[in-house]
């Protein structure tokens, strides 16, 4: 079965002009993401992984090459509600309750009022936050806030979820738990997920496809199709298959760094 890619990038270049001369944030980046994929972008800071995600979301304009999302430009895709975006910080509005925060995109996109409570309830259930809808964000822990921000991104039924180091600011134990929950959510909703991280175990545990990137200029050095099954208990991380993939990711990161020292 051959699937048409949902996200397709061809020879993407992005150069920021700064006072110290141009910075090549992305150079010659080509990648296809298929429907239902869980793709992680991993690399040291400055490798352009976040920039790449922002280009896919249309938050940043590529200076060369093509990118299409659902066969459209990123801007068109955004207007057709193709993706939900989860940022590094939860970024919930403190003057709105959790429900109110999830309602925010629905209000902006003009969903019917009567439809909102049902949607809010459904996504709260998906992220395991039932009963917390009337709390304010600052009354919840960091992990719960980030889950609420995922619920917010899910509320309007986008097929694609773009996540920019969503668990980067959380401690290891909370992060493990959220990774497990994210996999369950992914299995349940069959979304296509783009996930930026700098943690090798996180990338290997979550992904069907791992994109290794390196800096100066930002480029893709390796794309690894994970041999791991879609169903993954946490202790899969001790299996030889897992360690082998992790090893290959590490090698890819090291190769990208070789000219540095």
């Amino acid at each position: 079965m051959t699937k048409k890619p949902v996200i397709s990038a061809r020879d993407l270049d992005l150069t920021f002009e700064t006072n110290d001369g141009p910075i090549h944030a992305l150079k010659g980046v080509s990648l296809d993401i298929e429907k239902g994929d869980f793709v992680s972008f991993i690399g040291p800071s400055g490798c352009g992984k976040t920039t790449f995600l922002r280009v896919i979301a249309g938050l940043e304009q590529a200076t060369g090459g093509d990118v299409s999302v659902n066969g459209m430009t990123p801007e068109e895709a955004r207007k057709s509600r193709a993706y939900g975006y989860v940022f590094q910080a939860a970024g919930l509005y403190p003057w709105r309750t959790i429900e109110g925060n999830i309602r925010l995109p629905l209000e902006i996109m003009g969903f019917a009022r009567a439809d909102m409570p049902r949607r809010i309830e459904r996504v709260l259930k998906l992220v395991d936050l039932e009963g917390f809808g009337r709390k304010y964000p600052w009354q919840l822990s960091g992990g719960m806030q980030q889950r609420a921000s995922i619920a917010r991104a899910l509320a309007f039924d986008a097929d694609i979820l773009l996540m920019d180091e969503p668990f980067g600011a959380l401690d290891e134990i909370v992060r493990d738990h959220l990774n497990e929950q994210l996999l369950a959510l992914w299995a349940k909703t069959e979304k296509t997920i783009g996930f930026v991280t700098h943690s090798i175990p996180e990338a290997v545990y979550l992904s069907t496809k791992i994109v290794v990137m390196s800096p100066r200029p930002g480029r893709i050095t390796d794309v690894i199709e994970s041999p791991l099954p879609r169903e993954r208990p946490l202790d899969i991380r001790d299996t030889p298959e897992f360690l082998e993939v992790a090893h290959r990711v590490r090698e890819g990161l090291r190769a990208g760094h070789a000219y540095d020292d």
Binding site: L59, K79, A89, G91, Y93, P94, I108
Partner: protein, 260 residues
Amino acid sequence: MKQLSARFERIAWPLGFGIAVLILWQVMVRAFNIPPAILPAPTEIGAAIARSTHILWIDWVQTAVKGAITGLIMGAIAGVAAAIAIDRVDFLRRGLLPVANFVAALPIVGVAPIMVMWFGFDWHSKAAVVVIMVFFPMLVNTLAGLAATDRMQRDLMQTYSASHLQTLTKLRLPAAMPFIFNGLKIATTLALIGAIVAEYFGSPTRGMGFRISTEVGRLGIDMVWAEIAVSALTGTALYALVALIERGVTFWHPSQRRRR
């Protein structure tokens, strides 16, 4: 129970201190035989207040309500509206902001007589002076507030393809509220001062500023102090009212949260 006694203590301390000052004042005036024209005793001021409640009421309505509060409301709305316009249109930022800066630097003693010539002797000219005084702090604080959102919050709105108006009403204005209330607190104090001082430059035969300037001429110092007491109480009450509304509107701000 503990909370109740904490609240009682919060009120009891300043109240007790104030009463102590009044008693000391009374004793000093009596002990050193200070003439009433220099400093009347608190009891004399109290007597003046009791004697002239009707005049004080008329003056209060004229100056505090018609002059200060009307001007405060108009100036605050104008300041916030101008900030929203300046924030939207870069041409206004470059053109209007320096002009507003210039107007804010005008001395009240110069502006007040001109406003009297423009808007007549009654409260309208006083409200106009208050508008001018209040406009700038409201403008500057609102502008700072509108700039207070971070990039991630604005990116989030962009991922929803939110319009400028939606971003303004759903993100930037709510985020600006703590700043707007800061401006409003400054403005309430300025409004009362402006309305009183403006009456020195022409007014009908009522108003707190009018009364103060004429009673000074007649050496009715107890009446001057009575007006001062009324204006101080009004200013405090107005400030407290703004702080109360602030607590309701910006309950989510870290500076207000612990009270919930």
